[in-house]
């Protein structure tokens, strides 16, 4: 264990010198490729957006929806519509005033099929949005909504920066975004750093004097930078660094986002359409053994984390059973030649795609490859960048296997991932039983029923094995104790960042 006395010396020096508030410097593995809330797919983007943009509503510190851009609102008696008056005096970062048109535009852009927004599902409950005045608007819902404010936290975009609601993913906005949020973009440099400065025009007080995102691809260097006091926050600490940071009294660990799990997704268009092959793969992979070199976590049997109210503890883990797996493969016409399974002269080989910025991912891939190799299956990993990932996994579904992880907010809504019509269901999993359960779970208002339905869905999905469910890793953010009033939102991280301050 390295001696970690250094920060204290530095801290003393830093304190002596610091009279003015400094910006918050935090590290991400990679700079976001896009800062456009219409096309958010990963957490790095979501976190930056939290600083730049506002929603109609936001989470209070006790995680209750409270008005943000909204001044006042009224939900109709039949709960099928809602009128909203926007806060006055809110301006975009370019000085233009926020208007009801902006909100209407945002909703329409998210709904526009040409835009193909990854967030479209979040406004599907709204049938129409119309501006009734410069700062007032009216939303109509598809059905009765008990508390629509809970669903209105998506970020609002400036209409005047776009030419229409059909928006391209590569629209120039993505690197020159403006919002109404507490911080505005000062620079987006080629070296992957994003500098945000305090928005002095913000309608509420902003204590934090700006924020700087540093792209630091090397996770170990990230942890070192925090210890060296060159950063104030790490959004995700890898398990390996936990002990070092825990021992450092200048750093506080925030256990924050735990609703995320890793999986090996199987493309149902190919060989994985066959449930026996899916079972065989699942049985060949020893999840506990995979987990060991990467850190502490809990293995899961389905699409929820163990602490989830929807996790079905009665679902048994598929036992690691290479013998049965072999039998299954043999029934599919493969023969074992001593080292490989072969069919029609071709060895059983799969391409596994992984995003190359995932440090943990590489370790997992190496371990999976080692395991499958023991049972005669060749795995050809391909580490690809984010752009190629979007294209090959999301768009053209050109893969046999993928390794990735999903992160959910506290609702743990798996509809988009596992419903046959889900927008994030890129493995192509389709099951009528699961579809029915997920649909019912979306509409029911009885918490007991919802829990029961989703627990059943857990069971049904586990039985189908559309992917190999791996684990949830213990997640911690690390924040320097120089940051005052730090509180971390369990999903978006920076929701309350305007109240933070750095000594």
């Amino acid at each position: 264990m390295p001696r970690l006395t250094l920060p204290f010396v530095f801290g003393a020096l830093a304190l002596a010198a610091s009279a003015i508030a400094s910006p918050l410097r935090y590290a991400e593995d990679g700079a976001p490729g896009t800062i456009n809330p219409l096309f958010t797919t990963n957490m790095t983007e979501a976190r930056v957006q939290e600083l730049l943009f506002d929603g109609l509503f936001t989470d209070s510190r006790s995680l209750v929806a409270t008005p943000e851009l909204v001044q006042s609102y009224q939900i109709a008696e039949d709960r099928q519509s809602m009128t909203i008056d926007l806060r006055s005096g809110v301006t975009w970062h370019d000085g233009q005033a926020l208007s009801a048109d902006d909100v209407v535009f945002t909703i329409n852009a998210m709904k526009d099929p040409t835009t193909a927004s990854t967030e479209a599902a979040r406004v599907s409950f709204i049938t129409t949005a119309e501006a009734t005045g410069p700062r007032s608007l009216r939303l109509t819902f598809a059905g009765p909504e008990l508390s629509p404010e809970d669903k209105l936290s998506f970020k609002i975009l400036p209409k005047h920066r776009f030419s229409g609601t059909a928006i391209q993913r590569n629209d120039a906005f993505r690197t020159n975004p403006i919002g109404t949020g507490p911080f505005k973009l000062a620079s987006f440099s080629a070296d992957g750093s994003i500098v945000l400065e305090r928005n002095v025009e913000y309608f509420a007080e902003v204590d934090l004097n700006g924020a700087t995102l540093r792209e630091v691809a090397d996770k170990s260097y990230q942890a070192k930078l925090l210890v060296y006091q060159s950063l104030e926050a790490l959004v995700r600490v890898v398990p390996r660094d936990l002990a070092t940071l825990e021992a450092d009294r200048g750093i506080e660990l925030y256990p924050y986002q735990t609703n995320s799990w890793w999986y090996i997704g199987m493309n149902h268009q190919g060989v994985w359409a066959d449930p026996d092959m899916r079972s065989a793969l699942t049985m060949m992979i020893n999840v506990d053994e995979l987990l060991r070199p990467i850190g502490t976590g809990d293995t899961v049997t389905g699409p929820f984390v163990r602490s989830s109210p929807f996790y079905n503890h009665d679902v048994r883990k598929v036992a690691h059973d290479p013998d049965t797996a072999r039998t299954l493969i043999a029934t599919k016409g493969y023969t074992f030649d001593g080292t490989h399974w072969v069919k029609d002269g071709q060895p059983l080989t799969f391409r596994l795609l992984v995003q190359d910025d995932q440090e943990v991912g590489q370790d997992v891939v190496i371990a999976i490859q080692g395991q499958l190799q023991r049972y005669g299956v060749t795995l050809e990993p391909e580490f690809i960048d984010e752009a190629a990932w979007k294209s090959r996994v999301w768009q053209s579904r050109d893969f046999d296997l993928v390794l990735s992880q999903w992160t959910f907010d506290r609702n743990e809504d798996i509809h988009e991932q596992f419903h046959s019509q889900g927008s994030r269901n890129f493995t192509g999993y389709a099951s009528e039983t699961t579809d029915a359960l997920l649909d019912q779970a979306r509409t029911t208002v009885d918490p007991q029923a919802k829990r029961s339905l989703l627990q059943q869905a857990h069971g049904s999905i586990s039985a189908d094995q559309p992917m190999v469910f791996l684990w949830t890793l213990n997640s911690y953010a690390a924040v320097s104790t120089r940051v005052q009033n730090a509180e971390v939102h369990p999903f978006y991280f920076f929701t309350w960042a305007q109240d933070w301050s750095v000594e």
């Binding site: 390295p2 070192k224 053994e289 070199p293 190359d356 190496i366 080692g370 190799q373 990993p381």
Partner: protein, 263 residues
Amino acid sequence: MKRRAAIASLVVVLLVALIGTLMPDMAATETRPDQANLGMSWAFWLGTDRHGRAIATRLVIGLSNGVWPAVGACTVAGVLGLVAGTARGWLGGLTNTVLGFLTTVLATMPRYVLVLVVLTIWGDSALWLALAAGLAWTPSVTEAVSARVERLRHSETILASRLHGVPTWRLLLVHTVWFGCRKTVTRQLLGLFSAFLVLEASLAYIGGLGIREPTPSIGNLLAMQWGRGAWSDPRFWVPAAVLLFIVAATRALAHQLVEPADV
């Protein structure tokens, strides 16, 4: 003596690479979760990484994964460079001007830039790496050969042989290329050989380009241990030392290979 040591070192490197080639690929990717992060022992000479893969095995196979593409790159640069260089030096005139110009064009492109562009466009693989590096190093081989051939063409030995009726092809192949240029070419190619290994290591270390995990290479063996607070770890130092050793040996040997007339 120094020369013999250098040659012997390189022969050892090639032998090790040969052993690596003969070993099954699976030996490098075989994981042993219960034997992770072991120190040096008889079973694992250089210990194991955090997946329990044997570092020594990976190093040997990694060396072969680097050495053969390096040899490939040398072949590309050697053949292209020799042909173009000899043509330039021997024929002179328009051929010299045109080929010389093309060489200059190629040499204008920084080598790393050329390799980087080729790799990112055509994909990560040892094959493209070898082709790109071979192409990028062709100009320097061409220059060296053509300068040498031109000088030899006017040398007294060649003139005398020509007067004695030695056929042109023989003059060209035996006297000029074989006796006249082999040291020059070997020196250039030795430079490329070590530069290739350094290139591979640099790409793997910086951006995971080139030969990628889980296929072992010296570069990704280094990258695996990088930044883990273990920069004094032998698992980092041994691959680094192997790389340095090859660089030093090739340089030492290249230093000895001076054509008599060059001095």
